[in-house]
């Protein structure tokens, strides 16, 4: 009987998610071939995956596989919808129902990760390290599974998962780092890894058992009682004063979407600060921690803002559905509520990151690399020039990141607005083309990494082409835009952007750079300003399109 139950369970998991499994498996040779073709002419890089990008790819694929085996239906509603509830009715013991997906998933992912690390990647890790990585990834998988069974109140679920994922990542890095005192330190990292892994396995097992006995909701309620004093209404929070419709919509947008990114960055930022307790941060190079934090922010901000904004599956909350579309607000009021929130959310997150970086630099005793970099810069540009160029660089990266986030959000809105059955392939083609362009840009940037200014001078086309394309789209969409009653706001915004651009150009002219570089940087700045402004044109049009189909 056990054998047939196991076969049925494994068959269901593989059958239901075979597309995801085959896709993940196919990514490896495909990525290998692309990397080989793409990196062929890049000196100094072997076509293997011994790069952060390769490692990231591995983690993404493993996480996807983790979701597949975590009883999560990827097609219908995200982490809250453990799909095979009917499995709980099978005439099989509960431990079997809990363990089969855990063991099948763990084995599959372990084999995949080991294969990747051993034969595909050039990452030099010994067997213990590879095993530790595998255990960590499968542990996260188990945590996802546990969360999908509604053990915790909904508001706590995503936070708990984030904390566990970050704790696991930090533990793995600390445990595997060459320096024994990096981040939390090797010993604390090992302890953290054991705790998160065993906790994941145990929690997932407990979740399935409790789900079968319909006890998950009882535990959920007990936790609520634990956090909120008994007898008190659970959410006796004072109601906000919402004097106007726009104020109400701003409040709504912030409560639904706005808090996610700042919350995420607070959790991320808390880890380096928490490592102060282990004295790890004082020993880790401040430049490494700061760069890591900035990288996490700039890499995560676009997908998080785009996805969290629109996707129903991501937040399991409302998108531009009937409820949102029937608010008695004009199209421009709806659009600007979204944009205002996006800016607020982005700015607050950046502020948190900057504050943590300041603490890191002040608390770290290892600022040598940072000081050496600063010294090289001041020798070349002088003190004022160095401050100015750093500010310009920071502003440019932030503007580019904001533009990417807002354009990603626009893309999601666009995807919502169009008939996907009819135009889906065209969008996919456009996405692939855009991705290709970005890859081309990244390759050019990497090849010319030692002479970035020369590259910028010679390769303006890559910067200007997207601007031309986006302007073309905006012009194409102009007729419906004329009916959007937000021209005065847009005019004010355009004046603001123009002012900032002119100030930036004046700042650039003050740098002691040859004319060619100055021209190249100026054209880059203008392009960036245009791209940054583009969402303010696109979002009102797209909101209008998705609201009135």
């Amino acid at each position: 009987m056990y054998a047939s139950a196991i076969r049925a369970l494994v068959g269901e998991i593989f059958g239901k998610n075979r597309a995801a499994i085959v896709g993940a498996a196919a990514v490896t040779p495909a990525a290998w071939m692309i990397a080989k073709a793409y990196l062929r002419h890049v000196p100094g890089i072997e076509p293997n995956f011994a790069t952060p990008l390769g490692f990231l790819l591995l983690v993404v694929i493993a996480m996807q596989l983790g979701s597949v085996f975590a009883y999560v239906d990827l097609t219908a509603g995200g982490s809250g919808s453990g799909f095979p509830r009917h499995i709980l009715l099978l005439p099989a013991p509960t431990w079997l129902l809990a363990l089969v997906p855990i063991i099948a998933g763990s084995l599959f992912i372990a084999a995949f990760v080991l294969l990747w690390l051993r034969f595909v990647s050039g990452v030099q890790l010994d067997w213990t390290q590879q095993l530790a990585l595998t255990v960590a990834i499968t542990a996260v998988m188990c945590w996802i599974q546990a969360m999908s069974w509604e053990l915790l109140p909904r508001s706590m679920r995503i936070v708990a998962l984030l904390v566990v994922v970050i704790a696991t990542i930090v533990s793995v890095i600390s445990a595997l780092a060459n320096e024994p005192d990096f981040l939390l330190g090797r010993r604390a990292g090992q302890i953290g890894l054991v705790l998160t892994s065993s906790g994941g396995y145990g929690f997932a097992y407990l979740a399935v058992i409790r789900a079968r006995r319909s006890e998950t909701l009882a535990l959920n309620a007990s936790l609520k009682r634990l956090f909120f004093s008994p007898g008190q209404p659970l959410h006796a929070v004072p109601l906000p004063t919402l004097s106007t419709a726009v104020a109400a919509q701003n409040w709504f947008e912030w409560r639904v979407y706005g808090r996610i990114l700042p919350l995420f960055m607070t959790i991320i930022g808390a880890f380096p600060l928490a490592s102060l307790a282990f004295d790890g941060m004082r020993r880790a190079p401040s430049i490494a921690l700061s760069t890591m934090l900035l990288l996490v922010f700039y890499l995560m901000v676009s997908p998080m803002m785009g996805a969290a904004y629109i996707s129903k599956d991501w937040t399991r909350r409302v998108q531009m559905g009937t409820f949102a579309a029937t608010r008695p607000l004009s199209d421009s009021e709806l659009a600007f509520a979204k944009l205002r929130l996006a800016i607020k959310s982005y700015a607050l997150s950046l502020l948190i990151v900057c504050a943590v970086i300041v603490v890191i630099i002040l608390a770290s005793r290892n600022n040598v690399a940072l000081l050496a970099l600063w010294s090289r810069l001041t020798q070349r540009l002088g003190t004022t020039g160095s401050y100015l160029s750093l500010m310009l660089l920071f502003a440019a990266i932030t503007a580019a990141s904001w533009a990417a986030s807002a354009l990603f959000m626009s893309l999601q809105l666009f995807y919502e607005a169009v008939d996907r059955k009819k135009h889906g392939w065209k969008i996919s083609l456009a996405m692939v083309t855009l991705f290709g362009l970005l890859l081309m840009l990244a390759r050019r940037a990497y090849v010319a990494r030692d002479s970035a200014l020369q590259w910028l001078h010679a390769a303006r086309a890559e910067v200007i082409i997207p601007v031309i394309v986006l302007t073309g789209i905006a012009l194409y969409l102009l007729p419906p835009f004329r009916r959007v009653a937000a021209l005065s706001t847009l005019r004010a915004l355009a004046v603001g952007f123009l002012t900032v651009t002119v100030l930036g150009l004046i700042g650039l002219s003050q740098l002691r750079l040859p004319f060619g570089y100055r021209w190249a940087l100026s054209s880059g700045l203008v392009s960036l300003a245009l791209v940054t402004f583009m969402p303010f044109l696109l979002v009102p049009i797209l909101v209008r399109m998705s609201r009135h189909r």
Binding site: R154, R317, V318, T326, H548
Partner: protein
């Protein structure tokens, strides 16, 4: 005062296609002020598509839509602030408590009456401290109903509101709401599959099928003129040529005709053609709906 002033909704020659499928075909509808206007039809007949045009969620591809004399796509704020709407599957923000939800909704409507909203919640036996996601489907629908009418809208649009309510609540709440709205000279647009409910409360009926308006008349006329005639007549009967007959079933020389007509005139005409009338019976709305629907679905059964 022109004719538009008496109509809260004025739709003319509206056609809507989704790819190759016509969801609405040349639909012309006017909803007068102060009436309870019922829309009935099979699944996919075009009821929700019509309602979405009224709300401005669909742009008219052909024809025109005017609500309170305005285009709802061009003036969503002005139109929606005067409408109360409850959809078949309300996608309310489930994370809010009922109190938060009502507070949030109040900000959008200048006419929101907090006292009336509290009364409505009490009438619906809802605890304002509860979160929406903790409520049953029926309770969520009641919350939606309270929110839809707390600003005393000029037009209350109910798209299958009863689908989540138990029979007692359905009967009591819906009747009370509709009575209130109508007594104050406001209008209701009610789309429902529950024909008894429609028959009980609607003044006017719009019968939709495959995106077309098959029938638009006062409820009184609809009930007075729908008949089933049982007759015997040797040989074939060209029932399609008979005025008002929309469906017929033959069984061993006995015919059952379903019609929307002046019954005396029609029976007279049939007797002239040699038919022996065995029985005439007025159809309920439910029976009329089924007869009209089976006309489109089971052509093979029709003689």
């Amino acid at each position: 005062m022109n004719s538009t002033d008496n109509n809260v909704v004025d739709i003319r020659h509206l056609t809507r296609r989704f790819n190759d499928k016509a969801a609405l075909q040349d639909v012309t509808v006017r909803i007068p002020r102060g009436q309870v206007f019922g829309i009935v039809g099979e699944n996919g007949a075009g009821k929700t598509t019509l309602i979405k045009h009224i709300l401005g969620l669909y742009r008219a591809q052909h024809g025109s839509v005017s609500v309170f004399g305005m285009d709802p796509v061009k003036h969503p704020k002005e139109v929606l602030s005067r409408i109360g709407y409850l959809s078949e599957q309300p996608d309310f923000p489930e994370w809010m408590t009922i109190a938060q939800f009502m507070n949030y909704m109040a900000a959008f409507y200048p006419n929101w009456d907090r006292q009336y909203a509290a009364q409505l919640l009490e009438m619906a036996s809802l605890d304002a401290r509860k979160k929406i996601r903790e409520l049953s489907k029926g309770q969520q629908a009641r919350v939606g109903l309270c929110a839809a009418q707390a600003h005393r809208p000029e037009l209350l649009v109910l798209d299958e509101p009863s689908s989540g309510l138990d029979p007692v609540a359905r009967r009591e709440i819906l009747a009370a709401v509709i009575r209130t709205v109508v007594h104050e000279g406001r209008s209701v647009l009610l789309s429902s599959h529950l024909l008894e409910e429609v028959e009980r409360v609607c003044d006017h009926l719009l019968f939709f099928s495959n995106g077309e308006v098959l029938l638009s008349d006062s409820m009184e006329a609809v009930l007075d003129r729908h008949y089933q005639i049982t007759l015997r007549r040797p040989g074939q009967l060209e029932w399609q040529a008979l005025p008002g007959v929309f469906n017929a079933v033959a069984d061993n020389g006995e015919w059952q005709l379903f019609c929307f007509a002046d019954i005396d005139q029609l029976t007279g005409l049939l007797q002239l053609q040699g038919a022996q009338i065995l029985d005439t019976r007025r159809l309920s709305l439910n029976e009329a709906f089924l007869a009209r629907s089976s006309q489109r679905h089971t052509p093979g059964r029709i003689a």
